[in-house]
């Protein structure tokens, strides 16, 4: 590929005591792609995301974003650089309205916030952008609902909206369809497909339908190690992946 990778991970190592959750991960994310990271429970997917987002510091290895070494930068600085993250376990502001949740995300990257007098709701740019973002995830008509009162599926949509609100160059989505029913899952997939043109996504996902519907490339993680990587078709055909990840043959026959 001619373009520089947007994000490059080299020899990333992280362990908790004797347990190695990242055992020398190499990975590069190209601009504009949806890159799915799959793997069984405990494979180290969420810890990988946490290290990319800056919440966990790796023991060794480097992370380069837009040509800049960000390995030691704290979470909020990475967010300002353009790396946004959504959480596997819904992490919103339950006491705020849906609109306020997204507005706060927009506030993070729209000038400084040591403004003490003017009503936060009276910044037309932020209001407009917040509505746009809600439109994209399909929550525009729920803008004034208190976020804690949303259904689980809607809260997951809000989770993505908040990540989008920071206007990221790279979106790290940690199981956006977690805990969703089939119908909600489908809606989320179409939301994510809508983001594909403008955003680069790293997608951690258990829902294989979602992965195969969205991803350009897939990386398979098992016990902190990359055991396979490549296009969706290649991963589907890889016998090692079948054995290590998908585990039993009948599950696989659906996709074969």
């Amino acid at each position: 590929m001619l373009t520089e990778p947007l994000l490059e991970i080299r020899q990333l190592v992280k362990s908790f005591g004797a347990m190695m959750v990242s055992a020398g991960i190499d990975l590069s994310i190209e601009p504009g792609e949806i890159h799915a990271v799959i793997g069984p429970n405990g494979a180290g997917k969420t810890t990988l995301i946490a290290q990319l987002a800056g919440e966990l510091r790796p023991d060794s290895g480097t992370i380069t974003f837009l040509g800049k070494d960000i390995t030691r930068l704290p979470m909020h600085v990475r967010s300002n650089l353009g790396i946004a993250r959504s959480f596997q376990i819904t992490s919103i502001f339950p006491g705020f309205s849906v609109m306020e949740n997204v507005a706060l995300a927009l506030q993070a990257n729209n000038g400084h916030n040591f403004r003490f007098w003017r009503d936060a709701r009276k910044y037309p740019i932020i209001r407009r952008s917040a509505l746009e973002v809600l439109e994209r995830v399909g929550l525009a008509d729920r803008a004034h609902v208190i976020a804690g009162n949303l259904s689980h599926g809607e809260q997951r949509q809000l989770e993505v909206a908040m990540a989008l609100g920071t206007r990221p160059k790279l979106l790290l989505l940690d199981e956006p369809t977690a805990g969703m029913g089939a119908e909600e899952s489908e809606r989320m997939v179409s939301v994510l497909r809508g983001l594909k043109r403008e955003h680069t996504l790293v997608l951690v996902e258990h829902d294989m339908d979602a992965v195969f519907a969205l991803a350009d490339r897939v990386t398979v993680l098992v016990y902190g190690r990359v055991i396979a990587g490549g296009t969706v078709d290649r991963i589907r055909a890889n016998p090692e992946v079948r054995e290590a990840y998908l585990g039993y043959e009948e599950a696989l026959s659906i996709y074969a």
């Binding site: 959480f87 502001f93 993070a108 403004r115 003490f116 609100g165």
Partner: protein
């Protein structure tokens, strides 16, 4: 949020209380004028604690330290001949703010129970510092010979003038704080209370915002301290004692966290209750205790929450 605008119980109570406060000096009873001056000053302190506790989610158990610092600033300056409020009061505000920068920068690296303990420890350090500061009265405290002068404008020596001055300051503090909690800064602070981890993930350097909020709160408390020194004309380490921090916490929780007006009602309620109950028995705390338990158990959002009824409290 687009809500219908009609006066609810809270607004009615706000207006009634305000009207009552306007009329207190008209009765010409010095006792009541002084009592309500004191109540208003504590209302300002309670409001300032609500900024960090109710909005920022920071449970400080050392708020009285800043209150006492403000009072001592006025007292110490007076002992060195500085009488004008135009110097003494800003000095009290800035002094408390500066100390809050140091205390906050250290304490805010912790959270939860540790934050409670560390703020308590700092406050007790300051308490013992002034307790042993013989030049300025030590454990006995120091008298203030006369109130600060507000040259050319009003005569604070007159109880009624001082009363109305404190009333104006209280209302201005409420107005400014109300704007602040609805501003962008206020939203950030409340976001930190709701979910600090998410705030950092969104790109906010949360520590900075918490520190600024802590300092603003301390500055207001310091201002109130300057006023209480002028009210009592006597400054002692008791202003900084941890039980005083506890009283202020009770006012905030009793009145209703995160409502600004609620904690002011809490101050009114607590000090009036003390006044009335102390008339029956010197062990008035025995009566107040169960009352507090009832409020905390049955009215989670305090007095303000009761007034809001079943409606969503903003």
């Amino acid at each position: 949020m687009a809500k219908k605008r009609y006066p609810d119980l809270r607004q009615i109570v706000l207006l009634v209380v305000l009207a009552a406060f306007l009329t207190v000096p008209l009765f010409g009873e010095l006792f009541y004028t002084r009592l309500f001056t004191r109540i208003m000053i504590y209302a300002i302190v309670a409001l300032s604690l609500d900024l960090i506790l109710g909005y920022g989610g920071m449970v400080s158990f050392g708020h009285a330290a800043f209150f006492g610092l403000g009072a001592y600033t006025v007292g110490i300056l007076a002992q060195h001949g500085v009488q004008t409020a135009f110097v003494a009061w800003p000095a009290a505000i800035v002094g408390s703010a500066l100390v809050a920068v140091v205390i906050g920068a250290i304490s805010l690296r912790t959270s939860g129970v540790y934050f409670i303990m560390i703020t308590l420890a700092f406050a007790q350090m300051l308490y013992y510092f002034f307790f042993s500061l013989e030049e300025y009265g030590g454990s006995d405290g120091m008298p203030l010979v006369s109130r600060n002068t507000v040259a050319g404008l009003i005569d604070p020596g007159d109880h009624n003038s001082f009363y109305y001055l404190v009333l104006v300051i209280m209302l201005l503090t409420l107005l400014v704080s109300r704007r602040m909690v609805q501003s962008r800064f206020g939203m950030v602070i409340q976001g930190v209370r709701e979910n600090e981890r998410r705030m950092r993930a969104l790109g906010f350097a949360t520590f900075r915002y918490k520190l600024v909020c802590f300092v603003i709160s301390a500055a207001i408390a310091g201002f109130a301290g300057a006023l209480i020194a002028n009210q009592t004309l006597y400054i002692s380490p008791a202003f900084m004692h941890w039980t005083r921090s506890g009283d202020i916490l009770v006012m905030v929780i009793l009145g209703g966290l995160g409502s600004l007006f609620g904690p002011m009602l809490g101050a009114l309620f607590l000090l009036l209750a003390e006044e009335v109950l102390a008339g029956f028995t010197e062990h008035w705390m025995i009566l107040l205790g169960p009352l507090l338990i009832i409020v905390v158990v049955f009215a989670r959002r305090g007095i303000y929450g009761l007034l809001a009824g079943a409606k969503d409290v903003d």
